[in-house]
């Protein structure tokens, strides 16, 4: 069934001479580079959504139902390529709106381009506050790092009852750096003490120097707000160095790749994320099962957030009843409540939704629901 949709949408994309209007959406995703799973989930969820809409006759804009056409660009997980991809989508493909990039390091420069050109951008997964800060056309479908840092600091202090924590973060990436700083701020405001605050640079594989320094301060907890491809190495090396305390992380952990690369050492670790497949609403369950039959794997948080971002955008287009970027933007800004597959979102005038976070634990080689934290 799903294949039929995909073929159908591919045929739609194939004919370049069509003159009927269509809803042109850009996807700016990390298809290659160091987080290919993120880009892949984003692309698949967007394709799933487009196929679903086109299968249902298209998107109702004014009194016409228009097909959705996706333009997918790879941003190679580089800031400059993300900006270039946004430029290309705007100037060459003349898209109405762009979904992505996902990583904050890519979303921030792309957001600047979109803002300057008056093109709507919704980032599914970028949690750094700077992405939307002071911008009119930029939105996101996820919570922000202030909140996430606060959630994990509170969780560490109140649930795990630790007094001292160490942080190891990537100093060259906006996301990791931002969340590490927020965690430190809230953890110390809550009476804890951050005894070591060590950094590394993207692409490093050896963390033994930093971990030896961290071990010398004897922390009860290690916070690793880093991406899924680096966390397994950090956890393994930390255990090899004899660090035995709890290890916690952030939403950048939420990829199945983490479990493939991580193994036994990750057992018992906690991280905050956007949704838990275990307690999905009926609507989310429908999405999860259809996505799984389509692509043979469960949607991760990026896929779910991309789907939500796309639905949010479609709702704004329907409400605006027009393909004018300014009108769609205004309609999007007027949405105050939205029930997505990742839960309820409330918007209060900015592009940032207010929504709850969930904490998952890695048990028996799987992500298991542990707790929900309300904003």
């Amino acid at each position: 069934m799903c294949l039929v949709w995909l073929v159908f949408s591919l045929i739609c994309c194939g004919c370049s001479t069509r003159t009927e209007p269509e809803v042109r959406l850009g996807i700016n995703a990390e298809l290659t580079g160091s987080k290919p799973t993120v880009g892949d989930s984003c692309k698949k969820a967007a394709e799933y959504l487009a196929a679903q809409i086109n299968q249902g006759g298209g998107l109702k804009v004014g009194n016409k139902a228009l097909p959705v056409r996706l333009f997918i660009e790879d941003n190679e997980d580089k800031a400059e390529s993300a900006a270039a991809a946004a430029q290309k989508l705007i100037n060459q493909n003349n898209v109405l709106a762009i979904i992505g990039p996902n990583a904050s390091g890519n979303a921030i420069p792309a957001a600047r381009i979109c803002e300057d050109n008056g093109v709507i951008m919704i980032s599914p997964w970028s949690t750094n506050p700077k992405t939307t800060e002071g911008k009119k056309f930029i939105f996101r479908a996820c919570f922000i790092d202030d909140f996430q840092g606060q959630v994990m600091a509170k969780f560490a202090r109140q649930k795990l009852r630790v007094g001292t924590a160490a942080v190891l973060y990537d100093v060259a990436s906006e996301y990791n750096k931002g969340i590490a700083e927020f965690f430190k701020k809230f953890f110390e405001a809550d009476g804890g003490k951050v005894v070591a605050f060590a950094s590394y640079t993207t692409g490093d594989k050896d963390f033994s120097s930093q971990l030896t320094t961290i071990k010398a301060t004897n922390p009860q907890l290690l916070f690793l707000p880093n991406y899924y491809n680096e966390v397994p190495l950090q956890v393994k090396q930390a255990r090899n160095q004899g660090l035995i305390g709890d290890i916690i992380g952030s939403d950048s952990w939420g990829s199945q790749e983490l479990l493939k690369l991580g193994g036994q050492e990750l057992e018992g670790a906690y991280f905050s994320t956007h949704y838990a497949p275990d307690l999905a609403s009926p609507r989310a369950q429908k999405f999860i099962s259809e996505y799984e039959t389509c692509y043979g794997k469960k949607p991760d948080d990026v896929a779910a957030l991309t789907y939500d971002a796309g639905l949010l955008l479609c709702q704004a287009i329907i409400q605006a009843g027009s393909l004018d970027r300014g009108k769609v933007r205004d309609a999007l800004a007027q949405i105050t409540e939205y029930e997505g597959v990742t839960g309820r979102m409330t918007f209060r005038g900015s592009g940032d939704p207010i929504k709850s976070a969930v904490i998952l634990q890695i048990r028996d080689g799987q992500f298991k629901y542990f707790a929900t934290v309300q904003p």
């Binding site: 120097s209 090899n240 690369l261």
Partner: protein, 302 residues
Amino acid sequence: MALALQYLLNALQLGSVYALIALGYSMVYGILTMINFAHGDIFMVGAYLAMWAACFLLGLNLTFPAMFVFLGALLFSMTLTAVLGVAIERLAYRPLRQAPRVSAVITALGVGLFLENFTLATIGPEPRQIPAIIPVQQLSWAGISFTNIQILIIIVAIGLMLLLDWVVRHTMTGMAMRAISYDCQVAPLMGVPVNRVISLTFAIGSAIAGAGGLLYGLAYPVLDPYMGIRIGWWAFISAVVGGIGNIRGAMLGGFLLGAVEIFTPVLLASSTYRDCVAFSMLLILLVFKPTGILGRPTFEKV
């Protein structure tokens, strides 16, 4: 004290991998005065080959002893990277041997890009994991924590270096290599088969990079197609710092750079300056001793 020893052990582990790769740069430079910038990517291919071999041997479910799987993966990776090195030399560098040296260097960069993107296209961008060939055992002694893997890496790396040093100094092949590096115009007149010796140099250098790939993969079990770039640069600096063209210099440089990488974050309390320190060291050294620590000055012959 225990802390200092712990840092030193970490530096030794990282340095031994840098030293193995630096050897390949140094050997090729010594014999062809050319920098083989594809060498870091040969290392990456070696790591992937070792992963395949290990997955294959472990997948047979024949309960081989761990050491057998390790040696199997090591030999497989070393043999195929040697073949790859020879093929690269034959196809990409030999036709350009009379061309200006900058053409060969640019070709080497091209070969490196080819290897990266070929791996990206055939294997995909997802990070892969080398299976745990040898179960990790955590040991501790005098307040230092280390693993059996760390010790194995250091022993195998130093063993390979000593073997290579012996080959170059005490065999006919080694003598031929030294002869070509001393004077590549006179050596063939003395009956040294230049092409064969150059092929052999590439084979040995690449095989050692392949071994480095496996050892690195054991220590840091996440592989990606771009892993060779950064390591390649650090190994290249190691070779230059030690005195490019000099085998013992490459080993010394490797351990020195490993120490820079480990001790900079300790002394400066931030890892941000690490690359800065390494490259500054290279610049300062080149100003005062352009031939590196163990390099000998060369004279233009008239």
